[in-house]
Amino acid sequence: MSLMSTVIYISIYIGLFTISFYVLSMIAAKKKIVPEYKFEELPKTSILIAMFNEEKTIKKTIESALNLKYPKGKLELIIIDDGSKDKSLSIAKKFEGIRKGIRVRVLHQENTGKGGALNAGLKIATGEIIVSMDADTYVEKNSLSAMNRFFKKPEVMCVTPSMIPYKPKGAIQRLQHAEYLLGIFLRSAFASVNAEHIAPGAFSSYRKSFFDKYGGYEEGNITEDLEVTFRIQYNGYEIENCPEALVYTVAPTKFKEILIQRRRWYSGLIHNTIKYRQMFSRKYGDLGTFVLPIAWISIFFSVFFLFYMVIKGVLSIISEISFLMSINFYFGGYLQFNKYLLERIFFTYLADPVILFFLLFVGMMFFYARYATKRIGKTGNFSLSLFVFLILYPILFGFWWVMTLVYSLFNKKVVWR
């Protein structure tokens, strides 16, 4: 067996092991009884919306926050304008005061970055629970109350929702639609072993006492949400997941936009992993010995396969061109269909274990997406999204990581916006 085949089979086995482990964990977690607040017991909550040039989306975001179903008088909204140059501030100012029984405050400051803006909100927040909400995020009415019920357990410091793109259109958003659906499954899987390590900054709830004890958002950190999540895990607390809480984000539509977003996320992941590298130990149980190492191993394999595919692809293009020249660019042979075509496809592909494994993983992804749509109660056309995802994601995921590594190696600055 060649070295490449060995690497492929090892990565397949690791993939099967990981899937089996998470599925078993989720089955076990179903039996777990978690203490929950009743609706009227829900704690007072401050929603912080940091914005920077968000005139297109901020109105809808504020309206969606004001429409949240939550006990009367227990919700406040703090909008922090981080030095926007557009009309964001004036749009937000129109909501200032008491709206639908919710107190809305608007702050304005010079641009400091998202962490700095959220910290400004934290200083005046009066809620027991803090929700960070992105200015291009819309939330379902019941999501916040569904999430915050988990705070009855004192060890829970953060609760995450299910994120999906808002009205996905086009290949780039379709790709993210499938990715977010798979993320819903993974987040539930991580939470089942108390190993959730990525809470979306777009809409997550935090216990304010955690910020009081361990400090606010890290200013200058390009993924301040990730840093807080890692800090919560680092200090031994719990992060719960609420798949039923549905939150929509306006996903990038262009290749360049998504590249910039991913470069920021992945750079942040590298930075924060290095910062909290002590978590890769037995002291951190499943998170330290399995979940985090497996996440990095899967990234390593993706980048490795991308390099392999690119090198192999370039070599085969060169060889194919030289071959086509040798046959005087005759294509007739490729167009020959005989009566055994289907039989040949059957034998060629289904007798290859790697292809069978690939089909199994595709089936698993379909299962993940189905699980996600069942939990959030919205199906949409996820089959099309999954199809786009399967074609583009394996290449793009490796590409984004390569770009991130190149930027990191050459110390290029990555900013949050």
């Binding site: 086995y13 002291k283 040798s326 034998f347 007798a351």
Partner: protein
């Protein structure tokens, strides 16, 4: 901070076992498909050898007309497809697998029988069907050269399929007939292409090098 408890250490063991079971089931599943492919080769070989054998006998014993298009089609139909399947079986089970070697030996006989019959048709029917004997090698050192030759022969065959038959023979096949064949044509152990028992090529850089000699 106190050390965190593992959710359940036994779960890792169970996950490893389940993963191993799925892994081996899929490997077995792919072998099952390969086995079906192997059966298919066997099912194709028997009728074609029967047809060639039958027609040759009918010709020699009863003077049956072998010059019809029907005869040619009947004895040639699945020959190329069988070769493709055997090539896949070699990759799947390995070149040293006894089942594959047996089928390859049988396929070699069928091809040579066909080759002889084509020579007979050319002679008796005043036809000029070209034949290429492609002696390939699965040995590591010759693999690239063999694949290169095979790849270029494919379009040559498709461009001239009405007037050309291509036979692929493993030069390292451990059989008496292969030894005799090598002796007859003075062939060594390197991959080689022989056109109409006259022209030999160890390398082909362009299809024209072969096509210029086609009848």
């Amino acid at each position: 901070m106190e050390n965190r408890k593992y959710s359940d250490k036994k779960r890792y063991l169970w996950a490893a076992i389940i993963a191993a079971i799925i892994f081996f089931l899929i490997i077995k599943g792919s072998y099952f498909v390969s086995y079906l492919e192997f059966q298919r080769v066997a099912s194709l070989q028997d009728p074609i050898s029967y047809e060639i054998f039958g027609d040759k006998l009918e010709y020699s014993l009863f003077g049956k007309d072998i010059c019809t298009e029907e005869t040619y089609q009947k004895i040639s139909g699945d020959l190329g497809y069988q070769g493709q399947l055997i090539g896949q079986l070699e990759k799947r089970f390995g070149v040293n697998d006894p089942k594959v070697i047996f089928r390859k030996k049988f396929y070699t006989l069928v091809q040579l029988e066909h080759f002889e019959f084509i020579k007979l048709i050319n002679k008796e029917c005043n036809k000029s069907i070209n034949s290429i004997l492609f002696f390939y090698s699965n040995k590591e050192a010759d693999l690239d050269n063999s694949e290169q030759l095979g790849k270029i022969l494919e379009p040559i065959y498709h461009r001239n399929k009405d007037n050309l038959v291509l036979y692929s023979l493993d030069i390292n096949l451990d059989s008496d007939i292969m030894k005799s064949l090598k002796e007859k044509y003075h062939i060594g152990n390197e991959p080689l292409v022989m056109l109409n028992e006259e022209h030999k090529f160890t390398q082909i850089n362009n299809v024209n090098e072969i096509e210029q000699y086609l009848r």
